[in-house]
């Protein structure tokens, strides 16, 4: 009798822990120092990128990266710097997708994380920004 009740308690505890797992599923771990560092780096860079998104020089690509789509509006001498900026942003983004997958113990999720982000960057882009759809670049 005593054993049965103990079993019952244990089962309840297990169920709770299961619920805990399920709850954990509702959130991906993104509070790691590496992710914060990337987030901060990208946030700082955004001040430089935002006017370039607005002018159409840069667009949000389908693969979760930033692409140099029309540099015509940028002075020639600065196009190289913008290319460097884009490369740095894309390096951070690649690291971010890897880190999120890693932080959740699933490095193989990287491609899924990237795809999710690609969609969300595009969905949440401001009006006037260029985003890459299946048929090419479109302005939001």
């Amino acid at each position: 009798m005593k054993l049965v009740s103990r079993l019952r308690v244990l089962l309840a505890a297990l169920l709770f822990s299961l619920a805990g797992h399920a709850a954990a599923q509702n959130n991906l771990e993104i509070n790691t120092p590496a992710i914060s560092a990337l987030q901060k780096s990208m946030q700082q860079r955004h001040a430089q990128l935002a006017p370039l998104y607005a002018s159409g020089a840069l667009g949000l690509a389908r693969d979760g990266t930033v692409a140099l789509r029309d540099a015509s509006s940028v002075p020639l001498a600065q196009r190289g710097q913008i290319n460097a900026l884009v490369s740095a942003e894309n390096a951070d983004r690649a690291a971010l997708y890897r880190e999120i997958a890693r932080a959740n113990g699933r490095p193989e999720w990287e491609a899924d994380v990237r795809a999710t982000f690609a969609q969300r960057w595009i969905d949440r882009a401001q009006k006037g920004w260029w985003v890459q759809g299946a048929g090419g670049w479109v302005q939001k």
Binding site: S17, L18, Q39, T116, F117, Q119
Partner: protein, 61 residues
């Protein structure tokens, strides 16, 4: 006498915990979207933007 139920319990525990692990194999798309949105908010300063237009008014008062 005591050990048999304990073994059964252990087996069940194992079965359930291993089941727990398999749940995670599927990519949690909704959770990922939420995580992406939180990071995008931060990077693009979207939550602050909403508060920004109010600031000059506050400064004027």
């Amino acid at each position: 006498m005591h050990s048999a139920p304990r073994l059964a319990l252990c087996a069940m525990l194992l079965a359930i915990t291993s089941a727990c692990v398999t749940i995670n194999i599927y990519f949690p798309a909704a959770a990922a979207e939420k995580a992406a949105d939180r990071i995008i908010d931060e990077v693009w300063q979207l939550r602050d933007n909403a508060g920004q237009p109010a600031r000059p008014e506050g400064a004027a008062q």
